[in-house]
C-alpha cells in the first residue's frame, strides 16, 4: 500500500505528540513493506529527504509578521493547498489525515482519485475562527472513510457530538526505542518535563510552583526541562509567559540551581532522558492523549499527570504513577494544586525506588505498543483501501 501522512509540522522542526505518532506509525508501516510518505513543511528552503525508508517532502512555509498579527492560520491554509496539489498529482492508496492537516479537499480526493482517508482527531477542542472553517471541518468528519480518536472516552464523546462513528487509534509507543537502560541514578533523582515549554496548557509553570516544595523535601532532586519552545508563529508571547519566562516563581536559590534547562535537544536523545529520570511530569490540561506518559512508562519511569482527559485514562493505577486533578486553566495557577503536584512527584520518586516498579510501568505501557497499535492501523488502512468509496464504520 502507498500510505501518505500530510501534516504541516514534522521532525526536527516540531517535536510534539502528533509528530512522534506520525514518525512511529510511518516507520512501522515502512518496515512492513508499505510505501510511506510524509508531506509536511519547514522554515527555509523546501526539500525532499528520507527518514529511514519513509520519504519526507518538506514544502516551504509562509511566514510574515503582519500575517501572524492578523491571521496566523494562513500558514496552515498555505500548507493545505500545496499538500493538496501534491496529493492530486500523485497516486496513493490511503490518506491518514489529522486535525489541522488542512486537506479540506479530502472528500474530493476520495471521490475523484479514489483516495480513502482516515480522519484522526488528535486534539480535544478544535478551534476554528470562521464559519467556513467550521463547515469544512464538519464535512471532513462526515465524509471520512473512518474517524478515529486517541482514547475510548474521547471517541465516545466525539461520536455523540458529531453523530458519526468514531473508533480508537491511540498513538503508539515503540517499546524497542523507549526502554530502561540501567543508567538511572536514584540517589540524585531527575524530575523530567518534556512537554512544550512554550505552551501554557502543558502546566510547566505549575511544576515550577511546586518545585520549591519538592526540592525542600528531596534536596538531591534535579528538575530537567527538556521540552521544545512552542510552535513558531503560534502563541507568540507564550514563551515569555509560560515555563521559560517563569523560572522566577522558584524562590529558593538552591532549588533554582537544581533546574537544568536543556531544551528539546536531539530527537535521538529523548529515550535516554526518560530512562535516566526518576519521574516524568505532565501537569497539563486539555490533553487529548499525552504521549509523554506512555513513552515514560515504556522507559520504566513512573509518571505524574492530570487525572482528567487522556493522561487520566492512561494512568489509572497507582503502581505506575500518580495523578492530580487539573481541569482548567486556573488550576495551573492554584497553590493548592501545586502542593498536590509536589506530593505526587515525591510519591512517584518513592515509587521509582521500589523494586519492580520499572517492569510494572513497562508492562502497563505495552497496551500502546507500536506492534499492537501499528497492526490495528494497518488493518484499518487495508479495509479502507479495499473499498475506498464504502461508507464508514466504527469497527
Amino acid at each position: 500500500m502507498k500510505i501518505v501522512f500530510p501534516y504541516p509540522n514534522y521532525w526536527p522542526y516540531v517535536r510534539r505528540g502528533a509528530e512522534r505518532m506520525i514518525h512511529e506509525l510511518s516507520t512501522y508501516l515502512a518496515g512492513r513493506g508499505h510505501q510511506v510518505e510524509i508531506i509536511t513543511s519547514k522554515p527555509g528552503r523546501p526539500w525532499v529527504t528520507y527518514d529511514g525508508d519513509v520519504r519526507v517532502t518538506y514544502h516551504g512555509q509562509i511566514s510574515h509578521p503582519v500575517m501572524f498579527h492578523y491571521y496566523p492560520l494562513l500558514r496552515l491554509y498555505h500548507f493545505g493547498l500545496t499538500a493538496t496539489a501534491q496529493l492530486f498529482r500523485q497516486q496513493h492508496d490511503v490518506l491518514h489525515m489529522m486535525s489541522y492537516s488542512e486537506i479540506v479537499a479530502a472528500p474530493l480526493l476520495r471521490r475523484w482519485r479514489s483516495l480513502p482517508y482516515l480522519f484522526h482527531l488528535i486534539v480535544r477542542e478544535h478551534w476554528w475562527p470562521s464559519r467556513f472553517d467550521r463547515w469544512t471541518f464538519h464535512q471532513l468528519m462526515r465524509r471520512a472513510n473512518k474517524v478515529a480518536a486517541l482514547t475510548p472516552k474521547w471517541a465516545e464523546h466525539e461520536s455523540a457530538a458529531y453523530g458519526v462513528p468514531v473508533t480508537v487509534l491511540p498513538p503508539p509507543v515503540d517499546m524497542n526505542v523507549f526502554k530502561p537502560n540501567g543508567a538511572r541514578d536514584l540517589s540524585r533523582p531527575k524530575v523530567l518535563f518534556t512537554a512544550d515549554l512554550g505552551d501554557p496548557r502543558k502546566g510547566g509553570t505549575l511544576l515550577l510552583r511546586a518545585w520549591d516544595e519538592i526540592h525542600r523535601r528531596c534536596p538531591e532532586a534535579v528538575l530537567v526541562l527538556a521540552g521544545p519552545f512552542g510552535i513558531a508563529g503560534f502563541h507568540p508571547l507564550a514563551t515569555a509567559y509560560s515555563t521559560l519566562g517563569q523560572l522566577h516563581v522558584i524562590r529558593d536559590p538552591a532549588a533554582r540551581a537544581a533546574v537544568e534547562l536543556r531544551g528539546p535537544g536531539s530527537v535521538g536523545g529523548l529515550p535516554r532522558l526518560y530512562a535516566e529520570s526518576a519521574v516524568t511530569v505532565l501537569p497539563s490540561i486539555d490533553e487529548a492523549f499525552g504521549i509523554v506518559v506512555t513513552e515514560s512508562l515504556a522507559s520504566g519511569t513512573p509518571v505524574v499527570c492530570s487525572s482528567d482527559a487522556g493522561p487520566g485514562e492512561i494512568v489509572s493505577s497507582p503502581d505506575v504513577g500518580a495523578t492530580v486533578p487539573l481541569f482548567e486553566q486556573l488550576d495551573l495557577f492554584d497553590s493548592s494544586r501545586a502542593r498536590e503536584l509536589a506530593e505526587a512527584v515525591l510519591y512517584a520518586i518513592d515509587l521509582a525506588r521500589r523494586p519492580g516498579s520499572a517492569d510494572r510501568c513497562r508492562e502497563w505501557a505495552s497496551q500502546w505498543s507500536l506492534e499492537r497499535v501499528g497492526r490495528q492501523a494497518e488493518e484499518m488502512y487495508e479495509a479502507m483501501a479495499a473499498s475506498p468509496r464504502a461508507d464508514r464504520s466504527a469497527a
Binding site: 521532525w11 522542526y13 525532499v48 503582519v66 501572524f68 519552545f229 513558531a232 531544551g263 535521538g268
Partner: protein, 612 residues
C-alpha cells in the same frame, strides 16, 4: 507553489558535514547550515533573526584564521558554532546556563561560565592557546568594567591570534531616537528576555565604540579593525507585528544600512599587542631614562642644551645622557667632556655620521640603558622638569610621548612655512624627534626608526620621525601628548633662496605622508583636500587671476580678497615708509604659496593623494 529541491537520501538530523567553502560567500554558507540544522522551528527563527551578526563574525573569522584553526566561542548561538564546525574549524565553546545549543555543540562545551566569573577574570583553563577567540554579545552583561575580562583573555589567544568582540552599540538608532524624544531607555536593558539564539544574559551596560577601543587598548590589545555591524533583522518573521510597526522596523534597517554609526552592534577585531617586555615603566616610581641629544649645530648651542639636560631634576642613578655627534668638530667633544666632568649624571658620546637621522637614533637607542629613551637636539632649550614629566607620563598602555614646542623669539616666522609643519602648543601627532620619548624596548622591538626612509637621500624626508610612532600605534600602543613635556626651539631663517628648494620638497613630500600615515590627516589636511584655509584662499586667488586674464575682467580678482585679508595682520599700512616692507612680505608670501602649490601638485600626482 514552492519548488522542491530533491536531495539524496539522508537523515534530516544528521551531523554537520564539512562544507567546501573556498568559493562560496559567507552568507550562503551560513544560510545552508541554518537550513539543515536539526532544531525546532522556533529555534530556527531565532537563529534566523540574529543571522546578520553570525555572517559578520564568520566573515571575519574566515579572514583572520584558516581552518582547522582552534577557535573558542564564548556564549555563541548554535548557528555560529555549527557554521564554523562545518567549515572545518576546531571549535570549543564556553557556555552560559541561559543559552541554548544543539546537542552537537553541547558536546563541544569545555566550560560553563557566568558573567560574574568573567568579570573577575576567573577564566577556565585552556590546554593550549586558541588561534581565535570570539566573544559575541557578552561584554554588555559583564558586571562592572570588562577590562579585567579583556585582559584575562590575553592568555587564551596565541601569538598572532585574533580576538573578536561584538557588543551592543550604545549609539544604535533606537536608543538615539528614544533619547531625542526624551523617553526612558530602560526597556533596552532587559534583565530577562527569551532568546534561543545568543544567550539571553541580562543587559547591564552598552558601550560606545571609542569607549570600547580605549578599554581594549588598556587591556593590552591591538586594534586591527573596529566596525559597526547589523546584529539582527528588523523583526523575527514569526512574531506578530501590525503594519505600521513592521514598516518602521524595515525603515530603521534601511537607515542603518546607510548610516553605520547607528547600527546595532560594534565589532572589534583585536590581536595581542606587541610585547616590549617588562621594562619597569608604570604609573609609579622613577623609570630609568636615557636622554639622547643629537648635535646638529654644536658649539654654544650644544653647551647650552647639554647643560640643561644634565641639570634635570631626576635621580642620577636612573638617568643618563647620550650625545650623538659626527666627530668632525673637536670643540664639541671638549664641551661634552667639560660638562660631564662637572656632573654625576653619566654622559656618553656616540659617533654617528650624520648625527641626526634614523640610523643615528637607532644606534643611540641600542646603546642606551634606560627603559625610556627621550630624544632631542641642540636646537632646543630644555626646561628643567622635562625628563621628570616624561618619567611620570608613561602608563601601561603608552609607548610614546610628545609635547608642545615653543618657538624661541627671533625664529623664522611660522606663517612663512608650509601650514601644518610647524609645531606649537596645540596637540599634534607628529612626534618630532627633538621632543619625543619612547619605551626603548618596544621601539626597538618594533624595528626602531625606519632607516630605509632616508636611503640615498641628501636630506631627511618630512615626518621620517613620525613613522615609528605610527607603527607602534598600529601595533596596539597608545601615544600621549603631554603638556608638561614642553621645550623651546629656535627656527633659524633659511639661507637666501634656499627656502625655495626646502619648501618645495616639504610640500612635495606631504601628500605621500598623508597617504602613508592616516592618523596625521587631521593635522596636515584640515579643510577637505586643503592644508589650511591659507592655501585654500591662495588657490582661489590663483583661480581669480587666471580667470581675470582669460576673461579680461578684473572683477575675478575679488576671489583673491580672502587671501589678502588673512595676511593683513602682518602688513603695516601706516606710516607710508612701511609700505615697501609690507609689499616685500606680501611678495614673499605669494612666492611661498606658489612654491607650495607647485610642490603639493607634484606630490599629489606622485602619491595619488590630493593635497592642496
Amino acid at each position: 507553489m514552492s519548488t522542491l529541491v530533491a536531495e539524496p537520501p539522508t537523515v534530516a538530523s544528521g551531523p554537520a558535514q564539512v562544507i567546501d567553502a573556498r568559493v562560496r560567500p559567507t552568507r550562503e554558507i551560513v544560510e545552508a547550515v541554518l537550513d539543515r540544522l536539526p532544531v525546532t522551528d522556533r529555534v530556527y527563527h531565532h537563529l534566523d533573526y540574529s543571522k546578520p551578526l553570525v555572517v559578520e563574525l564568520v566573515e571575519r573569522i574566515r579572514r583572520a584564521q584558516r581552518p582547522p584553526a582552534r577557535v573558542l566561542l564564548v556564549g555563541p548561538d548554535s548557528l555560529l558554532a555549527e557554521t564554523l564546525v562545518s567549515l572545518g574549524y576546531a571549535v570549543d565553546v564556553w557556555h552560559f546556563r541561559q543559552g541554548h545549543l544543539t546537542d552537537e555543540m553541547l558536546a563541544r562545551v569545555r566550560a560553563d561560565v557566568t558573567p560574574e566569573r568573567l568579570a573577575e577574570g576567573d577564566l577556565p583553563p585552556a590546554e593550549e592557546p586558541y588561534e581565535l577567540v570570539a566573544v559575541p554579545l557578552v561584554i554588555e552583561s559583564v558586571p562592572g568594567s570588562p577590562a579585567t575580562f579583556l585582559r584575562a583573555l590575553q592568555r587564551l589567544v596565541a601569538p598572532g591570534g585574533t580576538l573578536l568582540v561584538a557588543t551592543t552599540n550604545v549609539a544604535r538608532l533606537d536608543l538615539r531616537v528614544m533619547s531625542v524624544l526624551g523617553r526612558s531607555t530602560r526597556s533596552a536593558y532587559p534583565s530577562f528576555h527569551v532568546s534561543l539564539s545568543f544567550p539571553p544574559l541580562p543587559r547591564l551596560r552598552y558601550y560606545h565604540r571609542e569607549e570600547l577601543l580605549d578599554l581594549a587598548r588598556q587591556a593590552g590589545w591591538r586594534i586591527r579593525e573596529s566596525a559597526y555591524v547589523t546584529a539582527h533583522a528588523a523583526c523575527s518573521t514569526i512574531d506578530p507585528h501590525p503594519p505600521l510597526e513592521y514598516t518602521l522596523g524595515q525603515v530603521a534597517q534601511g537607515v542603518m544600512r546607510v548610516w553605520p554609526g547607528a547600527r546595532q552592534a560594534v565589532l572589534l577585531e583585536l590581536s595581542p599587542r606587541l610585547d616590549g617586555g617588562d621594562d619597569g615603566v608604570g604609573d609609579t616610581g622613577y623609570p630609568s631614562v636615557s636622554a639622547v641629544l643629537a648635535v646638529r649645530r654644536g658649539g654654544e648651542a650644544l653647551r647650552e642644551a647639554l647643560a640643561q639636560l644634565v641639570q634635570q631634576d631626576y635621580p642620577g642613578d636612573r638617568y643618563e645622557v647620550l650625545v650623538l655627534l659626527d666627530g668632525r668638530r673637536g670643540g664639541d667633544e671638549q664641551i661634552i667632556r667639560a660638562i660631564a666632568d662637572q656632573t654625576n649624571v653619566p654622559v656618553r658620546t656616540i659617533v654617528a655620521d650624520p648625527p641626526e637621522g634614523p640610523a643615528a637614533r637607532n644606534a643611540a637607542m641600542r646603546a642606551a640603558t634606560g627603559a625610556i629613551c627621550a630624544h632631542t637636539d641642540d636646537g632646543c632649550r630644555i626646561p628643567n622638569g622635562w625628563v621628570r614629566s616624561i618619567g611620570a607620563a608613561f602608563d601601561e598602555t603608552t609607548s610614546m610621548l610628545t609635547g608642545p614646542v615653543i618657538e624661541i623669539r627671533g625664529s623664522h616666522p611660522d606663517f612663512m612655512v608650509l601650514p601644518g609643519t610647524r609645531l606649537g602648543w596645540p596637540e599634534h601627532e607628529l612626534y618630532p624627534v627633538f621632543n619625543v620619548a619612547y619605551r626603548r624596548g618596544l621601539a626597538l622591538a618594533a624595528g626602531g626608526f625606519d632607516e630605509s626612509a632616508v636611503d640615498g637621500r641628501a636630506r631627511l624626508p618630512f615626518a621620517w620621525d613620525a613613522e615609528l610612532a605610527s607603527r607602534l600605534r598600529q601595533l596596539g600602543w597608545n601615544g600621549r601628548y603631554v603638556k608638561d613635556m614642553f621645550l623651546y626651539r629656535r627656527y633659524p631663517p633659511p639661507a637666501r633662496l634656499a627656502w625655495i628648494k626646502e619648501e618645495w620638497q616639504l610640500a612635495a613630500e606631504l601628500p605621500g605622508v598623508v597617504r602613508r600615515m592616516p592618523e596625521l590627516r587631521p593635522q596636515l589636511v584640515t579643510a577637505g583636500p586643503f592644508l589650511a584655509t591659507r592655501t585654500l584662499f591662495f588657490d582661489l586667488l590663483a583661480i581669480g587671476v587666471g580667470a581675470a586674464a582669460a576673461r579680461r575682467r578684473l572683477r575675478w580678482l575679488w576671489l583673491g580678497a580672502p587671501w589678502l585679508i588673512q595676511y593683513v595682520k602682518y602688513l603695516d599700512a601706516w606710516p607710508p615708509r612701511q609700505w615697501r616692507i609690507s609689499a616685500r612680505i606680501l611678495a614673499a608670501l605669494a612666492g611661498r604659496h606658489l612654491v607650495w602649490l607647485g610642490g603639493l601638485l607634484a606630490g599629489s600626482v606622485r602619491a595619488r593623494r590630493l593635497a592642496l
